[in-house]
Amino acid sequence: MRGLALHHVSLWIDGHRLLGPLDLAIEPGTVAVLTGPSGSGKSSLLAWLCGTLDPAIRAEGRVTLDGRDIGTLAPEHRRVGILFQDDLLFPHMSVAENLSFGLPAGLRGGGRTARIDEALALAGLAGFGPRDPATLSGGQRARVALLRMLLAEPQALLLDEPFSKLDPALRSRLRSFVFDHARSLGLATLLVTHDPADAREADGPVIDLSGG
């Protein structure tokens, strides 16, 4: 199938089951939501999906992206992007350099600069390219982090509570910004959150791990 699909996925730590078995299909352009208490393995599941699971945790099951089995691929070959609670803009690069880091190498010279300027404009940050990321507000940084990830052309997007550190007004604006981009690019998106409002806005399948 198209999109991101999880088949009978479960995570084990020290012989006891942390999560699962879980089946989930996320169509391109939909946002699925995963909620549950702390320690229910939500972040571990995202780490497994992008290929950076702690070796102490054992995973079972399969994951496919557009029909391709990605469960054993190195993270860089999966085309699964991730955003964390912290924006993780690299502090040793300017805003434009952070975006350039995301862009593939094939695009050079003027085309490269044009794509970066376009991304900055999309984020409402035209002219902010030379700035140090540390001088940006939390919302601005979060938008740059999203666009940096999107410039790397992923086919699926994982969101690890990316809105939880923002104040409510900013949170709802950034949520629409992220969801709109994910939908218009046709990305299968999985959002981990504690916030019921996130789940309402996402408008996709919701999996609740509490009591599971």
């Binding site: 860089e76 070959h77 699964v80 991730i82 964390f84 993780l88 350099e97 350039s100 790397a152």
Partner: protein
């Protein structure tokens, strides 16, 4: 004593308990005083004789004669070149291995396993490692024996200069191998402070290969934190004495060895020339650090375009294998050194090219041990005293930092801490010795312990600072709210929680003390021999078995310390 300390004392036990915890501000001040004062005095005491001023020898008229003598001294220019080449090459090699191991293996099971190897590797003293290294790679060494005659065709040791070679290659390789574990440990400590794992995940999810991701996103964050340790390695490698005596070329030797030779010459007039050369050694280290700093900035600028070019890099399998092989060679060199020393110390007859001795006995041990008892006792006592004092001072400084609510020390504070590691030992120890003679302390225990403390303290601080600062301060705060005094909180909460890091820091401190050669020679004035000075002295002679016994004991002492620290930490 500072004003705050005087005020605290004046207040006395009967005064009302102050609302704020008693100030420990005098501890950092005392620590820095113990530390930097004597180095500054030592540098001046080295510089003055370089210009003909050494009242102890009746020289009171300033002159440039020492510099003219130095310029005319045979071998001086070659010695400077040799020191510069071996120091820079070994530092770059060690840095390359340490960084590629971290870049290639960060986040893998291997990396976890290899972290466990670092502490014992770090504990290996330089002199014993150099002796073991020589026993491994010399023409009649273990490697040649294991490969002969079936692979090499050698029936007798070949006539090759594999150690003490005129280019200092053996010295360069051994120095690099000795410094890789320290650099790697500093990289790992830095990784914990820069959210390296998340940066790596981000980059890899954007399609970057593991090594390219590390080099582009983690290294720029880690580098500022390992810069001072790298400079310390550079300063050490440029001025090392004990390893150069064992493995370096003899005519001419490296600069630091040449200086030591002149200082120890029965002809006292050579001391002026030695002091001038010691000033050159200090300048050489300063110039090398300056060069390194400039090169860092140039490389940083050159690579900027590559970092943001979008090039993803591949799996870098070749580099991963090379990095693992490099670290494997380092671990094998240390393990092989220990093993070959052990075998030689119990070998009765060992003909070339036999892989193992034909006969074994304990004769060398029974011969050597009565004479070694004194040096072993001196070694252990110096290590225990200097480490004990260092622990007390470091804990005082860290507790002060927490009570006064100050953050981490500024980068200037770190430079001060690293000062004894950045100034070449030979550059200030002569001046210190002059001072000690002046006050009648040369060859005494206080002088020996203090000279070890100079080098033990920075390492104890490095080992303890992060665990101390990582301690959740809410434990202490809730204890205070239950009415415990700051002193009681320190004794009953902080110390027990830190038992394991304190045990490790103690083991690190002891291993640093055991390894000290030059400070022991200068401050001990030959009257307080340790296993280290014995090992280096025997290295010049021809008795391999006696040398193996002493070097093995020197290697064993710090390893026992680490084993004890592990046991102490596990019991809790």
């Amino acid at each position: 004593m500072t004003r705050a300390a005087l005020a605290a004392r004046a207040a006395g036990p009967d005064a009302a308990r102050p609302a704020r915890p008693r100030s420990l501000a005098w501890v950092p001040a005392l620590t820095l005083g113990l530390f930097l004062g004597p180095i500054a005095v030592g540098l001046v005491g080295t510089l003055l004789p370089a210009f003909g001023l050494l009242p102890a020898l009746g020289a009171t008229v300033p002159t440039l004669q020492p510099w003219r003598d130095l310029a005319a001294a045979p071998g001086f220019a070659t010695a400077v070149r040799l020191s510069a080449a071996t120091g820079l090459a070994s530092t770059l090699l060690a840095l390359a291995v340490a960084l590629s191991v971290a870049a290639c293996w960060h986040g893998t099971r291997w990396f976890q396993a290899l972290r466990g190897l670092l502490a014992p590797l770090l504990a290996v003293p330089h002199a014993a490692f150099a002796v073991g290294f020589a026993f491994l790679v010399a023409p009649s060494g273990w490697i040649a024996r294991l490969a002969s005659p079936w692979a090499t065709g050698w029936e007798r040791p070949p006539d090759l200069l594999l150690v003490n070679d005129p280019w200092g290659l053996a010295l360069t390789l051994a120095l690099a191998a000795k410094e890789v574990p320290f650099l790697l440990m500093m990289v790992i400590a830095a990784l914990g402070q820069v959210r390296a794992d998340q940066a790596l995940t981000s980059a890899r999810c954007m399609g970057y290969g593991p090594v390219a991701a590390w080099l582009k996103t983690v290294l720029p964050l880690v580098w500022p934190q390992i810069r001072l340790p790298v400079y310390a390695v550079l300063a050490f490698s440029l001025s090392v004495v004990d390893m150069a005596l064992v493995l370096g070329p003899g005519t001419p030797p490296t600069l630091a060895v040449l200086i030591l030779r002149w200082f120890n010459d029965p002809d006292l007039s050579l001391r002026f020339q030695a002091a001038a050369a010691a000033s050159v050694q200090v300048a050489l280290v300063a110039a090398a650090i300056g060069l390194f700093r400039t090169a860092e900035m140039a490389v940083g600028r050159l690579l900027r375009g590559w970092v943001v070019s979008g090039r993803r890099g591949g799996p870098a399998t070749g580099l991963r294998v090379a990095a693992l092989a490099g670290f494997g060679a380092v671990a094998a060199a240390a393990g092989g050194a220990l093993a070959v020393l052990a075998v030689w110390s119990v070998a009765a007859r060992w003909r070339f090219p036999d892989a193992l001795p034909a006969d074994w006995n304990l004769d060398r041990w029974t011969d050597a041990l009565p004479g070694l008892a004194g040096p072993i006792a001196n070694t252990v006592a110096a290590a225990a005293l200097s480490t004990g004092i260092a622990l007390a001072l470091v804990l005082g400084c860290l507790e002060h930092e927490q009570r006064s609510g100050r953050g981490r020390p500024t980068s200037r504070g770190l430079w001060l801490l690293y000062a004894p590691l950045l100034v070449p030992q030979i550059g200030f120890l002569f001046g210190v010795q002059v001072l000690l003679v002046l006050v009648g302390l040369d060859g005494t225990w206080p002088a020996l312990v203090w000279s070890h403390l100079l080098f033990v303290l920075p390492y104890v601080f490095l080992a303890l600072a992060d665990p101390y600062r990582a301690l959740d301060e809410r434990y202490a705060r809730s204890a205070r709210c239950m009415g415990a005094s700051p002193g009681r909180v320190f004794r009953t909460i902080t110390l027990p929680l830190l038992a394991r890091p304190i045990a490790v820091a103690a083991a690190v401190g002891m291993s640093v003390s055991v390894a000290q050669y030059l400070p022991t020679v200068f401050a001990g004035a030959g009257r307080l021999p340790t296993v280290t000075t014995e090992a280096v002295a025997l290295a010049g002679g021809g008795d391999r078995r006696a040398l193996a016994v002493v070097a093995f004991v020197q290697m064993l002492l710090p390893l026992l310390g680490f084993a004890a620290a592990l046991a102490a930490g596990r019991r809790r």
